[in-house]
Amino acid sequence: MERIPILRMGQFLLVTIQVDLYDRLALDLEADLVKMVSKTGAQGILIDISAVSIVDSFMGRIIGNIGVMSKLLDAETVVVGMQPAVAITLVELGLPLKGVFTALNVERGMDLLKSKIQIIEEDIIDPDDDYSTDLS
């Protein structure tokens, strides 16, 4: 059976969608990604859609779902490489892809993910610092 490969890179999972997705394939990807986050403890997912020429409401919903589901497992999702025509079509369709972060390309997407994770780590450390006295 055909499947979209998921690559692990440090704390992140990378997915590059190179084929036109039909519904089954997209649903499998959603399930695989969530399982993979849980198994590996990954903190970020980067989905490259630069080769995807069509994102319809179903695909959009799947991408949104991946964002929300991975968030529940404490991982951030960044979608990168959207084609301009796809962005125009998505907005006219009425699907502005809320709930996921986007970046122009893989490089910027990686930077975004790294910065998100750093912020989260700082948040955890902060309460032990100076201003914890403010709370008392």
């Binding site: 039909y22 020429s53 069509i54 994102v55 919903r61 025509a85 079509t89 369709l93 009425g94």
Partner: protein, 140 residues
């Protein structure tokens, strides 16, 4: 004055399984490329087609799609006619509302599709089926 719409090329395709969707989208794209439709309009047309074909599969149990290259005056375009023999739509004006769905989707399919194309027509008869026709002009 309204000039008549002339059909230049006809291509019929049946879509009955989920796996037929990708070849169908590719076929629509081929025709759109042939009449030199721009990338943005191509994407809008194929996205609209994808929404309608999914509806047809999910609610109508599959059906036939007629792909036509049409011409009106100086305009060229693609007309797609989706025909299914499903249960039909009880209230079309409700189905055309943003956010309405009887299934598990977002309810963007029909109203969203209408925004993506130049002409949109839907006819449905309960118990007989649904026919949706869309037209996208090259410069539309």
């Amino acid at each position: 004055m309204i000039t008549a719409l002339i059909s230049l090329n006809k291509d019929n395709m049946s879509v009955i399984r989920e796996q037929d969707v990708v070849p169908f989208r590719n076929r629509v794209k081929e025709h759109a490329v042939k009449i030199k439709m721009g990338l943005v309009n191509q994407t809008k047309l194929i996205t609209a087609a994808s929404e309608l074909v999914r509806n047809m599969l999910r609610y109508g149990g599959g059906g036939e799609v007629l792909i036509e290259v049409v011409s009106r005056g100086r305009d060229n375009g693609i007309r797609l006619t989706f025909n299914d023999k499903g249960p039909g739509i009880a209230d079309i004006s409700l189905a055309m509302k943003d956010g309405f769905t009887t299934g598990k989707s977002l309810g963007l399919g029909l109203p969203g599709t209408k925004r993506l194309v130049n002409e949109f027509d839907i006819k449905s008869e309960l118990g007989k089926g649904t026919k949706v026709t869309i037209v996208k002009w090259v410069n539309g």
